[in-house]
Symmetry: C2
Subunit: 210 residues, 2 copies
């Protein structure tokens, strides 16, 4: 019995260390993709940037495809966690929508490499199937989160009558499209001004008029 | 004198044929990138899809980089020409803004391959310099066109006080971001509904209130 507990403890510790190592490699991959571009981000180059041997990456990931998949998961998970925490603290639907937009832009401003890498990854799905899978795994949850906010605002009488699905796509689209221009040139886009304009605009666009 | 005219006529004809051939290769490259993905769109594969030898492509373009540059130029030129023709026919700033948004979505719907290819190209600039150049060559003109529409609407008293540059970035962003989701999955996004929602929204967001 005693030895089983020790064994479980060791397994837990090993898996904790493995998890930390995987996370370190994923973070390193994001920064290599952001600085060198996705095609140039070979496993060898990522390993070098992280400061481990290529064998360590191969031990943790089946190949570049699996690593990139984990990068995508991490990019969306971090962003969504940040946004959700801010949305959940807002007391009603109009302020939840506002929190969604503001948190999206604040997270962007603080994590530029994540979004530079994301734009490269957007362009890397060759097949229609890979594109659809990315949409289903990553964009559907974002749009559903927004749709939920919008629907509850209609139920509470704060928002006018509109298609929550369509409006969710336009909110997510406006955030992504501004981000894209900012990824191309930081100097060309003032994120704070754009966030403020989008907050005003989507407030005007969703409110029920008296 | 006569022979010079003949010679000029022949040169004109030759350059007309060369121009047509270059255009054919650029159109072929767009369709190969859209169906196979940018990394898979080698000059050999594009040549095969167009039905010419690889030597013909090499005769007209210095390499894949120059061909892709011409693809980018063609993608933006075609889109902008279509949008500008529609905008120029509208009688005032509010209807010019509406025409800009509607024409963008109509052109998208009719030219899906162009936008599938464009998203791949968005993700293909490794260096910050290449990204900035793309922004300066391609996005600055789009935003300036929009800024002009917005400024004239402020001058005429149709539009409220806002930063034309910021609003131009959000209009272009909303169009691009919705397009992106539609590139990932045609079934997930209704372009016509999104266009109508964005027209309403930007109208509400720009109008001067009485």
């Amino acid at each position: 019995m005693r030895s089983k507990i020790i064994h479980d403890g060791q397994k837990k510790k090993a898996s904790f260390i493995e998890e930390a190592r995987r996370r370190q490699i994923v973070e390193g991959a994001i920064s290599t993709i952001a600085s060198a571009g996705l095609p140039q981000a070979s496993l060898a180059r990522i390993a070098q940037d992280v400061g481990v041997s290529k064998g360590v990456i191969s031990y943790h990931f089946a190949g570049k495809d699996e690593l990139i998949q984990q990068v995508v998961n991490a990019l969306f998970a971090e962003t969504n966690r940040f946004i959700k925490a801010r949305v959940d603290r807002a007391p009603d639907a109009p302020r939840r929508l506002r929190a969604f937009i503001e948190a999206s832009f604040e997270f962007m401003a603080a994590n530029r490499a994540n979004f530079v890498a994301l734009v490269d990854i957007w362009g890397s799905f060759g097949s229609p199937e890979a594109k659809r899978r990315f949409n289903a795994d990553m964009y559907d949850p974002c749009r559903h989160h927004l749709e939920g906010i919008l629907r509850r605002g209609q139920d509470s009488g704060d928002f006018r009558d509109f298609s929550p699905g369509t409006l969710a796509a336009t909110v997510q689209g406006a955030i992504d499209g501004v981000m894209l221009q900012w990824v191309f040139d930081e100097e060309a886009i003032d994120l704070a001004d754009c966030a403020a304009e989008l907050v005003t605009m989507f407030d005007l666009a969703t409110r029920r008029r008296a």
